[in-house]
Amino acid sequence: MSDPVNEPWLKTWTPSNRLFSWVMNNVWFVNYKGHQVGQIPFRYSLRPHKAFDSAEAKKFGIGLVQPLVVAPVGEGQQGLPSLLKLTGDPAVIVTSLKPTRDGKGYLLRLFNTSDKPASATLNWGGAGQPKWFFEQ
């Protein structure tokens, strides 16, 4: 690797408006062919905004990585009703909602995008009340 005396690794970061995206670095010392060829795409998205909003930034990133899935529907088919509604501090967002493995319920994951305590309320509608609650 690098010479730690003449070229030490960076010790600090100076605040900067510069970003460099490392699109390729073939200098990993692992057992694959380093000079592989071919077309490789790299996608970026920029969204200017005013004041920083941690929840909006988080949702923006998630929305790009996990885009909505488009599915065909029948003519006149009604949309499914919402299982729940989240109210309260907008810093709290839903990061996943999926059926449990036994098919008897749903697993909901919430995330506080801010660095401060936040409270939110779940309105479950007709889906019943949560049976378990875990904090990570």
Partner: protein, 190 residues
């Protein structure tokens, strides 16, 4: 959904109701991003360019950029406006950039395509410099963190993983302020 305004007369300025993006024929990068007001988010005075390709090789002190750009209007509304810039690039057979705006969306989408040749050297896409006075950088490492401020003392400063308001769904390695690849690529035998 509202439709896009037509492209500007020079053909290199896609515009919608939120954003105006100007491409620069001289530097091939993005010269300007305006968001509904006269303030420009891009510092066009920086010679590194915005969304420019840099081939750093083993020595980051002497990087080379893309050259001989060919501009093509790929989509011209009403829903999507995009410009494709194809260039020669060291370390690659071809380097292309597609800058895209979508009607009703306040974001700029960039698709960079590297047709990689057999070189083993390092390639970098530069996004310097945002012109945000006293801007603060936050990295989405699941929880948001600020470089230096939220880092452990012994953690690396040479590179970082990210996903932020400037976000990259595919590539998640970046360095800040300077290219620092030489720190580990110097002795690569390639």
């Amino acid at each position: 959904m509202r439709s896009l305004k037509s492209l500007a007369t020079n053909g290199l300025t896609p515009t919608n109701e939120w954003l105006t993006v100007k491409l620069d024929e001289a530097t091939t990068g993005i010269a300007s991003i305006r968001h509904g007001d006269p303030f420009d988010l891009v510092d066009a005075t920086d010679s590194l360019g915005f969304n420019e390709y840099w081939y750093t090789g083993k020595d980051a002190a002497n990087p080379r950029r893309s050259a001989k750009p060919v501009f093509k209007i790929k989509e011209n509304g009403p829903l999507v406006a995009s410009i494709l810039v194809s260039s020669e690039a060291p370390g690659a057979k071809l380097f292309s950039r597609e800058i895209q705006l979508t009607a009703g969306s306040n974001r700029v989408d960039i698709l960079n395509l590297v047709d990689k040749n057999g070189s083993m050297r390092t390639k970098t896409c530069a996004f310097p410099p945002f012109q945000v006075p006293d801007g603060e950088l936050r990295i989405d490492a699941w929880a948001l963190m600020q470089p230096e401020k939220d880092q452990l003392k012994g953690q690396t400063r040479t590179f970082c993983a990210f996903s932020i308001s400037w976000t990259s769904p595919i590539k998640r390695m970046a360095s800040l302020g300077q290219t620092s690849m030489r720190h580990w690529s110097r002795r690569a035998k390639c």
